[in-house]
C-alpha cells in the first residue's frame, strides 16, 4: 500500500506542477502539426502519464486471492 501511495503522490505532484506551470497562456497558444493546440497535446500526454501510473498502482495493490 505504501508503494501505491508513493506512486500516486508522485503522479499528483507531476500533474499539479504541470497544470500550474504549463497551462498559462504562453503554452496554450502554440499549435503543433499546424492544427492541433498544444493544450490538447499536453492534456493527452498528462492523461497518458496518469494511465501508466494507475497501471503501476494496480500492480502494487493488494488484491487478495482474486477468486472468480
Amino acid at each position: 500500500m505504501r508503494k501505491s501511495l508513493k506512486v500516486l503522490f508522485t503522479l499528483i505532484g507531476i500533474q499539479v506542477l504541470f497544470t500550474y506551470f504549463v497551462l498559462p497562456y504562453g503554452w496554450v497558444r502554440p499549435l503543433i502539426f499546424g492544427q492541433i493546440p498544444f493544450l490538447i497535446f499536453y492534456l493527452l500526454v498528462m492523461n497518458l502519464v496518469a494511465f501508466l501510473t494507475l497501471v503501476f498502482l494496480v500492480r502494487y495493490a493488494e488484491w487478495g486471492e482474486m477468486e472468480e
Partner: protein, 517 residues
C-alpha cells in the same frame, strides 16, 4: 433555426425513448424476482457496463453545463477540477473494492447494510437511510430535471411537457428492468454525451475561427482566462479533500456492489480516473472557444452554464447534430436521476422495511414496495421541479460536500481498528450541520474559489477520530474481519459466530445462495 428543429427534436426524443424501453425489455428477460437482482442485477455486471454506468451516473448535467460555467469563471484553470480525478484510482482499489468484497460476503445491498454490519449499530442504518432519502432524493432528482427542462425550451417545446414525458419514460423502464435496465441504458447515455461533447468541441473551435484566433482574441479581451487564477487553485485545493464522495455518494455506492468479479475493479482503477479526467478536455477547449466567440460577453439571457448550447446555436451547426446535442442533456440528466431513484428505492425496501421495521413480507411484496417508491419519487420530483424554492439551491450546491461526510465512516471501517459507531454517527451529523451552515450563514466569510464544505468536512474527520478514541469499538471478530478485508483484501472463509448475529445474511443464507448459483 430553432423553429426548424422542433419537429426533428421531437422525432429524436421519441426514438430515444423507444430505444430505452427496448433496452429495458431486454433487461427484464434476465430478471429474477429477488431484491438482490432488482437492485444489483444479481452482482453480475461486467466491465463495459460498469464503466459506462459509473461515467453516466457521476457526470450529470454538470459536465455539459456546469464545467462550461467553471471555465467561464476560472478560464483554463477550470481544468484543475479534472486533474484531481486520478485520486479516484486509489479509492477504487482501497475503498470500492473492499466494499465489494464485504458486500458479496455478507449480502450488503445498501450503504446502511455495510455500516450497520461493521459498526454494529441499527441507529447508524436509520441515519444512513434518512441521509440518502433527504440528501440524495427528491431535490437532487428535481434539480436535474430543472437543468434538463431548459433544453426543451431551447428546442421549442413546453418545459412542463418535456419533464413530465421524460419522467414517465424513466419510471417506466426502471419499473420494467430495475438496476439492470438502469446500467444498460447508462451505456447508451454515457457514450452519447461523451461523443457529443467531443464533436461539440470541434464545432466550437471551428466556429470561433480556429484555435489561434481564439487565443489571440482572449489575449486582447481577457488574458486572465488563459492563466491559472488564484481562485482556481484555491478551488482545486479545497475540492480535492471531498474526493471520497466519488465512491460513497448515495447513488454511486451501490454500483460498486454490482460487479461480477474482482478483475473489473482492476480495469476500472486504470480506466475510470483517466476517463473522468479526459471528459473535462472537450468542456475546457469548447468553453474557451465559446468565451472567445462571444468576446467574453454572454448574450442577453444566457447564463455561463448555457454556454455550450448558446455557442452551438449561434454558429449554426448542422441541424441533425444540434438535435443530437440537445438530446444529450436529457441523456446526461436521466442517467443520474435513475441512479438516485434506484438507490432511494433500495433504501426504503432494505433499510426501512426489511431490516429497519423487520416486516415479514415475501421478496415479491418487498419488490412491489420498491416499485411504488420509484413511482412516488417520480411524481414527487415533478412537484419539486415545479416548486423548487431556495432550499433546493442550497442542498444541490452542498451535495458533493455532504456526501463526503460518509467517507470517514466508510474508509476507516476497513483500516482503523478504533473506529466506533459513535465516531461514525457524530462525524456524519456534525459534518451535515457545519456544511449546511457553510453554504448559508457563513457564505460571506469565504474567499473566491473556496469550497464552503471544507471546514465542515475537516471538522467531521476530526470528530470521527476524537469520538472514536473515547467510545467502545465493536466486537473483536467484526473488527478482525474488516481489517482483513481492508489490509489483505481477503474475507475469512469461516465467518465467526458473533459476526453472523449482526450480519444481514446468515451462514445458511450464504450457503443457499451458493447452491442456487
Amino acid at each position: 433555426m430553432i423553429g426548424n428543429i422542433t419537429n426533428l427534436f421531437l422525432i429524436g426524443l421519441i426514438s430515444y425513448f423507444v430505444i430505452l424501453l427496448v433496452v429495458a425489455n431486454l433487461a427484464r428477460r434476465r430478471a429474477q424476482p429477488t431484491i438482490e437482482d432488482y437492485f444489483l442485477a444479481s452482482r453480475s455486471v461486467g466491465s463495459v457496463v460498469m464503466f459506462w454506468g459509473y461515467i453516466a451516473s457521476i457526470f450529470s448535467v454538470f459536465v455539459i453545463a456546469g464545467v462550461f460555467g467553471l471555465v467561464f469563471l476560472y478560464g483554463v484553470g477550470g481544468y484543475m477540477y479534472g486533474v484531481m480525478n486520478v485520486w479516484a484510482g486509489l479509492l477504487i482499489i482501497y475503498l470500492a473494492y473492499r466494499m465489494w468484497l464485504a458486500g458479496r460476503a455478507f449480502g450488503h445491498i445498501t450503504p446502511g447494510d455495510m455500516l450497520e454490519h461493521r459498526y454494529q449499530s441499527r441507529l447508524l442504518r436509520w441515519i444512513m437511510a434518512i441521509f440518502v432519502l433527504v440528501f440524495g432524493g427528491l431535490y437532487y432528482i428535481a434539480i436535474q430535471m430543472i437543468g434538463m427542462g431548459y433544453i426543451f425550451e431551447v428546442a421549442g417545446l413546453p418545459y412542463q411537457l418535456g419533464i413530465v414525458a421524460t419522467m414517465v419514460i424513466l419510471v417506466t423502464y426502471l419499473l420494467i428492468g430495475g438496476f439492470r435496465a438502469h446500467v444498460w441504458t447508462n451505456v447508451i447515455q454515457g457514450i452519447w454525451f461523451y461523443g457529443i461533447l467531443i464533436a461539440g468541441m470541434f464545432f466550437l473551435i471551428s466556429g470561433a475561427g480556429g484555435w489561434e484566433k481564439v487565443v489571440i482574441n482572449l489575449e486582447n479581451l481577457s488574458p486572465r482566462h488563459l492563466t491559472i487564477m488564484g481562485a482556481a487553485v484555491l478551488f482545486w485545493v479545497t475540492t480535492v479533500i471531498s474526493l471520497g464522495s466519488d465512491i460513497v455518494a448515495p447513488h454511486l455506492w451501490p454500483k460498486f456492489l454490482a460487479p461480477k468479479n474482482p478483475v473489473i475493479f482492476k480495469v476500472m482503477a486504470v480506466t475510470l480516473p483517466v476517463a473522468m479526467s479526459l471528459v473535462y478536455i472537450p468542456s475546457l477547449i469548447g468553453g474557451i472557444s465559446a468565451i472567445s466567440f462571444f468576446n467574453v460577453q454572454l448574450p442577453q439571457g444566457v447564463r455561463p452554464d448555457q454556454l455550450f448550447y448558446a455557442g452551438l446555436t449561434r454558429i449554426e451547426v448542422p441541424v441533425v447534430f444540434l438535435m443530437l446535442a440537445l438530446l444529450a442533456l436529457p441523456a446526461a440528466a436521466m442517467s443520474t436521476i435513475e441512479a438516485f431513484i434506484m438507490t432511494c428505492s433500495s433504501v426504503v425496501v432494505v433499510d426501512v422495511f426489511k431490516k429497519g421495521l423487520k416486516v415479514n413480507w415475501s421478496e415479491k411484496s418487498l419488490l412491489n414496495v420498491g416499485r411504488i417508491v420509484i413511482g412516488v419519487l417520480g411524481l414527487g420530483s415533478l412537484w419539486f421541479a415545479y416548486n423548487p424554492g431556495q432550499v433546493i439551491g442550497v442542498l444541490v450546491t452542498a451535495g458533493w460536500g455532504l456526501y463526503s461526510v460518509l467517507v470517514p465512516a466508510a474508509l476507516c471501517a476497513f483500516y482503523w481498528r478504533r473506529a466506533t459507531k459513535w465516531g461514525a454517527i457524530s462525524s456524519i451529523l456534525v459534518g451535515i450541520v457545519l456544511i449546511l451552515l457553510g453554504y448559508t450563514v457563513l457564505t460571506p466569510l469565504w474567499p473566491p474559489g473556496f469550497q464552503p464544505f471544507t471546514v465542515g468536512l475537516l471538522v467531521s474527520w476530526a470528530t470521527f477520530f476524537i469520538v472514536s478514541r473515547f467510545t467502545k469499538p465493536p466486537s473483536k471478530e467484526v473488527i478482525d474481519t474488516y481489517m482483513q478485508i481492508g489490509y489483505r483484501a481477503r474475507v475469512p472463509k469461516i465467518i465467526p459466530p458473533t459476526l453472523i448475529g449482526v450480519s444481514p445474511q446468515t451462514n445458511d443464507e450464504r450457503g443457499e445462495k451458493k447452491d442456487g448459483n
